[in-house]
Structure formats: C-alpha cells, structure tokens
C-alpha cells in the first residue's frame, strides 16, 4: 500500500518551474530514494512534503490524508519526521534535552502548558531517551552541549530525535553529505537497521550512489523538476536515460 502519494505537483519560483507534474508513490515499509543532478528539484519536493513550501497545484496524500496547507508541526504529528541536509538540532541544549523534546511532542501533542511540572519527574521519557541514545551509541555524550558535538554526532543526534518519535515516514535529505567513508557505512547500517527493526518507511535524497544502491528498494530519478523514471536499483543502473541525465554526468 502506498503510504505517500504525490500527484501532479507543480511549483514555480517566479518564472522558474522547480517542479512540474511530479508523481511519486512510496510503498509502506520500503526505502525510496530520490536522485537527480543539482537543481533537479529534490529538496523543493521534500519541502513540499513537510509544509515548508506550498505546491502551486497537485496533491500530496499521506496515509490517505492530504498534508497540503498544514503547518510543519501538524504534518510531523501525523507521523512524518525530517532529517535536514545540515543537522538541525538545539545547539544550546544538552543532548538529553534534544531527545526529550520530541518525546514530549509525541506524548503531549503540539502544545502543553507544563510550566509547573518538573523535568526530573519525567522518568519514563528520560529512560526512553537514554535507550535511544544507547541505540545510536551516544550514551556517554548525554549531558554534553549539543553545539559542541562533532558534525557526525550532530547527524546521529538528529536521527535519534526523529527516531524517538517513532515516525511512520522518515524523510532524509542527504544524510551522508560531507561524511567520511567509514561514517557513511555506519550510517547506511544504522538506516538499514532502522528500516528493518522499526518498520519505518524512508524517503531519502542522496548524491552518493553507494548509499543509494545499498539502501533503496525503489529509485525515482528527477531531472529538471520532472520524474524521469521510477524503478528498482538494478533497472536504474542499466537505464540509458538515467545514464545520460545523471550517472553519465557524474562518471565523466
């Protein structure tokens, strides 16, 4: 069953058509990659899914419900989490607090006036946060300031913040950009495990073909704002159109 259904989405910036007639169907529990050369509209598409941008026309359905016109926090509360291209975390807060915030969001919804409650009393949420920190092997950095983490750790923290919400759909915008090979492989393993164990559907935008082919079950190739093909990784590799538009370009 398709958990995310994008139909006929158009988005123009001034005279520039960033997206034209994009259709995308993501099956539940799969990893779906979106690839394409720079300026193909990948990030624009992602921004349309999370409420940052409003498409000019078309529809975006998540689990049978339209997400268009909803605010980012409402879309998140439906079960869509997003990992950004540059890690977006709460730099002034500790690592534990960074994880606690999505825990509160999950339990209490978009707003709750807990001004007279005590942080230390939330043992259940603290335990859960400690658990997820152990999962991403960051338990020893629990009380560090998030801003002081290395870039790789910031990414893992952001991932953990998304995971602790148990989203149904996880959107990843170049999760390995700027990483060393070893870190990249760790991230691939982590994502595979997340997908398998937690049964989270993923849409991933990525430039690194190694990552794409190790993770994705379906691949959509975007070029100049339109989907070129959508197929399995093996077929994409052999597709001459894709070679021409993207792979060929990167091999030269």
């Amino acid at each position: 069953m398709a958990i995310l259904e994008v139909k006929g989405v158009n988005k123009n910036f001034g005279g520039l058509a960033a997206l034209s007639d994009v259709n995308l169907s993501v099956q539940e529990s799969t990893v779906h990659a979106i690839i394409g050369p720079n300026g193909a509209g990948k990030s624009t598409l992602l921004n349309c899914l999370v409420g940052k941008l409003m498409p000019d026309s078309g529809s975006v359905m998540f689990d049978g419900q339209s997400v268009l016109g909803l605010k980012p926090h409402e879309i998140n509360q439906m079960g869509i989490s997003r990992v950004f291209q540059t890690p977006e975390i709460f730099g002034d807060l500790t690592v534990l607090e960074n994880i606690m915030i999505p825990c509160f969001a999950k339990r209490d919804g978009a707003f709750r006036m807990h001004a007279f409650e005590q942080f230390a009393h939330e043992t259940e949420l603290i335990d859960r946060s400690d658990g997820i920190l152990a999962d991403v092997s960051m338990a020893d950095q629990r009380d560090a300031h998030a801003a002081s983490l290395s870039r790789g750790d910031k990414r893992r923290l952001e991932m953990a913040m998304c995971l602790v919400q148990e989203p149904r759909l996880l959107l990843l915008d170049e999760p390995t950009a700027g990483m060393a090979r070893a870190d990249t492989n760790n991230t691939i393993d982590l994502l595979k495990e997340i997908n398998r164990k937690r049964d989270i559907t993923m849409v991933i935008i990525e430039h690194d073909m190694h990552v794409v082919f190790s993770l994705a079950e379906r691949i959509t190739v975007l070029a100049q704002g339109t989907p070129l093909v959508e197929d399995t990784p093996d077929n994409i590799k052999g597709n001459p159109k894709v070679q021409e538009a993207y792979l060929g370009e990167s091999q030269n």
Partner: protein, 400 residues
Amino acid sequence: MLGLNKKDTSLFLVIVVLTILAPLLLNPFPSETALAQFNAGYPDLMQRFVVFGIFAIGFNILFGLTGYLSFGHAAFLGIGSYSAVWIYKLFTYNVLPALVLAIIVSGFFAVLIGYVSLRRSGIYFSILTLAFAQMSFALAYSVLSNPKFNLTNGETGLQVYANDLQLFHRESLPDFPHLFGLSMGSTYKLGAGPWEFQFNVAYYFCAIMMILAFYFAIRLFRSPFGMMLRAVKSNQQRLNYTGLNSRPYMLAAFVISGMYAGLAGGLLAVTDPLAGAERMQWTASGEVVLMTILGGTGTLIGPVLGAGFIKYFENIFSKINDQVLHQWFTFLPDGLEDFLVAIVHPFIGKGWHLTLGILFMLVVIFLPGGLVEGGQRVERAVRRLMRRGKAADAANVSAE
C-alpha cells in the same frame, strides 16, 4: 526542597534571607556620617529594588528564555498600576484585589499584544511591541482622558480623591493602601547606637511578592515548558519540525511575562497610590532591558541584581551634588579641587544617566554575561587561588 534541586534551593534561600535582612544590610553606614548618603536601606528605594526586580524577572522569562526582545513591557507596568488605582477608587484600599485585577488586566492586554506581535520575530517583534507600548502611552496620556470619559486622568495621573466611591472603605481603615487594615505606609524605626533601621510594611509586602515571583520563575526555568522556550531560542525551525507549535509556547511566555510586569505595576501603586502615563513610556521599557542585560540575561538571579544595580545608582548618583563633591575633594589644593569637581560634575546629579551608560558599556564589553558572569569569574579566580595554595602546601609538606 519545594521541588527545587540543591543548587536552586540554596540560591532561593539566599534571596529570601537577603530580602528579609535588606533593611539591615543596606544600611551599613551610621546615619550621621558623610557616608550615610550611600545607604540604600530606606523604604522608598528598597521598595523599588524588589518591585523592579519582579518586573525584570518577568521580562527575563520572555527575553532570557526565548530570545524575543520585547521593547514595550512598560505598557503592562502602567496597565497594572492603573488597574490597582481603579480598585482603590471604586472599592477599597485593600491591596489584594488591586493586585489581582492588575495581574488579570495586564494578562488580558498581553494576550492581545502578544498575539499580534508574535506573528513576527527578531527586530520586527521588538518594533511591534514598542509600537503597542507607545500607543498605550498615548491612550493613557491623552485619548482616554477627556471630560466625558476619564479613565486615566491624563497628565496629572490617576489618584484617589476624597469624593471617590470607595464602596468598601470604612472609617476604621487607613486612608492608604493596606492589607486588611495594616497600612502599607507604616514603618517601624529601630535605633541601634548611631544606626537607624527602617522596617516598612510595603517593603516587606513587595519583598514577599518578589520571593514568590522568584520561586515561580525558578520552577518555570526548570520545567519542560522552560526547556521548550529555550528550544525556541535555540532553533525554532527544528521545534516546528519536531511536532511542536512554537506559537502558543511563545504566547504563554509573553503573557506570563506581561503578568509579572502587571504585578510590578500593581505593587508600584501599593507603595504609592497613584498611576501616571510616564510609567508606560519607552524609556521605562528600555530600562528593564538594561536591567536584564546588565544583570545577566537568561540567568535566574541576574535580572534582580540588574534591577537593584540600576535603581541604586539612579538614586545615589542623582543625589550627589557639587557641594558633596567639594566635601570629598576638600583635602586637595583649591585649584585642583575645583578642576576635579568640574570634571566629575556631568556624571552626577541629573547627569547620572551618563554614569549608567558608561557602566552599561563596560559590562556589555567586558562581561557579556552581565553581573552574574562577573560573580562567576571572581568565584573561579578564588577557587584557582585556593587550589594553588593547597598545591603549594602539599609541595611544602612533601619537601619536608
């Protein structure tokens, strides 16, 4: 204790002890000596310490936690004062209903002003709040003060007149704000040798209010709600993409902070039963910003320190005049004495703002964390010295 951790409890107890003992601690100089003019232990000034302390604590909840710089908080101060005086005029001089109304009305205005202003962030938010405050000032100063409908009594300021309704006022009750008959104006004077200490009812009433306000602020800072506000300051976009709606959090912070200002305004009318429009002017809004930054933005105790600092220097420096300066420099040769007095002259009396400005610049440049950071630096330096001393001792012992 009281749901506070160890460190916060001790901080809280320090504040409690300091405010209770303030009439003693702030009067270190015997009353007949030349130094007595540096004493701050008289009711009028102490009241201002705690009232503006409350104002700054509340302001810090908004500015310190969320980073939204309101430049119009004095509006709530004025609204609080007007509300309290209206209770005096219509019903009773009892301060409790006056304060309750002050908090409610300022909270109501904070909802309106916050709802509109929080649609923008950064400098635009500041400008919107400033615009609202100046509008409130204009309303209070002229618009709402005409013969047909006189809510604020304009330039003169709102005060209680003999022919006012005062429904629940009785002959037996004092003609001054009181707490169930205990007049806020009464002062107990304690002479101890050359010293004289003044224990004033209004001061202690305001001090208790500040202790309560401080306690609520600690609890709020340490609560999940406080964490969300810090998250707004740190990365609002991430907060929204994490399923939290930052807007009601911001509005709640704005309203709480506005109600603190309303309480402070009400307390100003407790110490002196009148309300004037100048209380809402932008300089008053700017003053609370200075207090918070000077003391240490985002720290618990900083705003209180900042408020005390500014109010102290406002009073002391503005009291010093050329005559006092001549007394100080009298040991110098005449020419030099006149010269020094001429140099210092612009910084005292009416020129005390100049001194305050210089102090403020020094703090912002050398202590960006405010007086609190200064305190921390001193503490660290002392620790280092003590450690070095211990290490030296240890070395001596091993050498022997």
